[in-house]
């Protein structure tokens, strides 16, 4: 019975994922500076005509209620926000890597994508409402927060899955804690390795690695991805990941994240509504 996860093999498997187009990493890099260079961002996107087409299509579905169509990359950046547009660019490259189901985790590509998008919209809303955090990578980091599952899932043998199941049921651990205990690594860490393989900047990597334990990340983006993930789970009514400041569950005490970001339960409700709106506008892109 093979019970240990071979970490070296897992890292190699992460490195074997196809590279993203150079434009994705370049755009993410451009978002790390405080004063965004819009002209540079536009030229990176427009350099790739098929990417530009895809982006405009997604941008227009995101504003489907509006009478004014988006005709240029510049307009897309202004109307949707630079962080969101770059997130869509990354998304268009990443989605093609997903198979029909994510092995090991037994989730469909559609479920995975819906959760990722919900978290991305939540991150965008958190950023808009938080007086304490501003940054342009939240959307992309939240969009990719679970990307590690793509690699970890390949290694989850029936035996390992059984131990993980027992760790959550008998040991009452959250899923990521069960991974850390049984596999000696969790999908956040694996996601970090993938993001590095794709050449993404450090803060984006941190947002992915620490989306379950933001207190270890020493970077505000970790609190954003943490909360964004919880909001997305709440929308999916996953009872194990209930978000409530007043009633922290065994696995989640959301108060430190809310405090760090300067948010409260009321703002969480607004954020939730924003996410629902975002998801509705993108529903055509989910199928």
């Amino acid at each position: 019975m093979y019970l240990r996860l071979d970490h070296d093999l897992l890292v190699r498997s992460a490195y074997q994922l196809p590279p993203l187009p150079q434009s994705a990493a370049r755009l993410a890099q451009l978002l790390t500076t405080e004063d965004l260079d819009l002209r540079e961002i536009i030229s990176v996107i427009e350099f790739d005509p098929s990417l530009t087409m895809k982006l405009l299509r997604v941008a227009n579905s995101a504003i489907s209620g509006s009478r004014h169509r988006i005709g240029t990359v510049r307009e897309a950046l202004i109307r949707l926000g630079t962080g969101t547009v770059v997130g869509f660019v990354v998304a268009s490259s990443v989605r093609s890597l997903l198979g029909k189901r994510i092995p090991g985790y037994n989730i469909s590509e559609k479920e995975f994508w819906r959760h990722s998008l919900a978290a991305a919209f939540a991150a965008e809303a958190i950023q808009a409402h938080s007086p304490n955090w501003s940054g342009h990578l939240a959307f992309t980091a939240a969009l990719l927060h679970d990307i590690g599952k793509l690699v970890v899932g390949k290694f989850l043998t029936p035996e390992l899955l059984e131990w993980l199941e027992r760790a959550t049921t008998e040991g009452k651990l959250a899923a990521f804690q069960a991974e850390a205990e049984i596999l000696s690594l969790h999908h956040g860490e694996a996601g970090g390795v993938i993001a590095q393989h794709w050449g993404f900047p450090d803060s984006l990597v941190k947002g992915i690695v620490y989306h379950h334990d933001p207190e270890n990340g020493e970077d505000g983006i970790c609190y954003v991805t943490y909360l964004a993930n919880l909001v997305a789970h709440r929308l999916e009514s996953d009872p194990r990941e209930e978000v409530s400041e007043s009633q922290p569950t065994v696995h989640t005490n959301v108060a430190p994240a809310l405090e760090w970001l300067g948010l409260d339960e009321e703002s969480l409700r607004t954020i939730r509504a924003d996410v629902q709106k975002g998801l509705q506008s993108m529903s055509s892109q989910l199928d």
């Binding site: 019970l3 970490h7 890292v11 490195y15 008998e170 040991g171 694996a190 390795v193 590095q196 450090d202």
Partner: protein, 274 residues
């Protein structure tokens, strides 16, 4: 076959005694997940048989393997951070002052595993104490296992390993990419001398250490062995040196010659002035 309650109690009391780690009854699955592969490696058919072997023999290597399997002694760069903060802010500045006349410093890592701990100290010295570069600073790192020593000497780490605790600027500055791995530059590797050393046996070949890191290893031993090791550490340390133990370890009730020193969130130990 599920783990029998009496066997679970035997294992949990062994682990508690050796490592101060409490295994509540709901952790039965964890004991099974860790000990089943160990039993198989030992050529035994079940955990029950493994426990029977331990019961039949007084303390031997098997007990230690069981404790090791249950404590997942992971290592990482700048593990727990606080000891390294104490080293940077208090211990090294104090030691550089105390040794100003001799201009030499001797640091010993007594359970260096795959090398992350001694290399973290070497990196910390380079980053924050470069002005002492002309001093003779020796970092000796020891471990029992020849396999981990070979890995440590190589100084090659996977992306996952460098992501654990190593700040990105240090990775860029001191490591070189080798295929899918990162290798520490030679200038850092040669700062650390790796040697094999058995803490409970034979000569140590360590003397006059100014700073001793021996973290998360005493947990594996029984009380009398812990006492014997601390007594020997006392003998190889300079009287004004510093000793760092793991978070779950203490000298309290084991060796009264040491006194606790607290720096922010880190505890280290120094010899009482006689």
């Amino acid at each position: 076959m599920p783990l029998d309650s009496t066997d679970f109690e035997f294992v949990s009391s062994l682990v508690l005694k050796r490592s101060a780690i409490v295994l509540e009854p709901e952790k039965k699955y964890l004991v099974e997940s860790r000990l089943l592969p160990l039993a198989q490696r030992e050529g035994l058919s079940s955990i029950a048989e493994l426990v029977a072997q331990m019961r039949a023999n007084s303390l031997n290597g098997l007990h230690q393997k069981v404790v090791e399997a249950m404590t997942t002694n992971e290592t990482s760069f700048f593990r727990d951070l606080n000891p390294f903060e104490a080293l940077r802010k208090v211990v090294l500045p104090d030691m550089f002052q105390r040794r100003a006349a001799e201009r030499r410093l001797h640091i010993w890592c007594g359970a260096s595993s795959t090398g992350q701990e001694p290399y973290s100290i070497a990196l910390l010295l380079r980053e924050h104490f470069a002005r002492f570069a002309d001093w003779k600073i020796g970092i000796v790192a020891t471990d029992l296992s020849t396999d981990v020593l070979a890995r440590a000497r190589l100084g090659c780490y996977s992306q996952l390993e460098v992501n654990r605790g190593l700040p990105a600027p240090l990775l860029v500055k001191y490591f070189q990419r080798q295929g899918t791995e990162w290798r520490l530059k030679e200038e850092v590797r040669r700062q650390v001398e790796f040697r094999q050393l058995n803490l409970i046996d034979g000569a140590w070949g360590i003397s006059a250490a100014d700073i001793v890191f021996i973290r998360n290893v005493l947990i594996y031993f029984d009380v009398s062995t812990k006492k014997a090791i601390l007594q020997r550490i006392r003998q190889v340390m300079r009287p004004d040196g510093y000793l760092f133990l793991g978070g779950a370890e203490t000298t309290l009730n084991l060796d009264d010659s040491f006194e606790r020193n607290c720096f922010e969130r880190c505890t280290c130990y120094r010899l009482r002035k006689s």
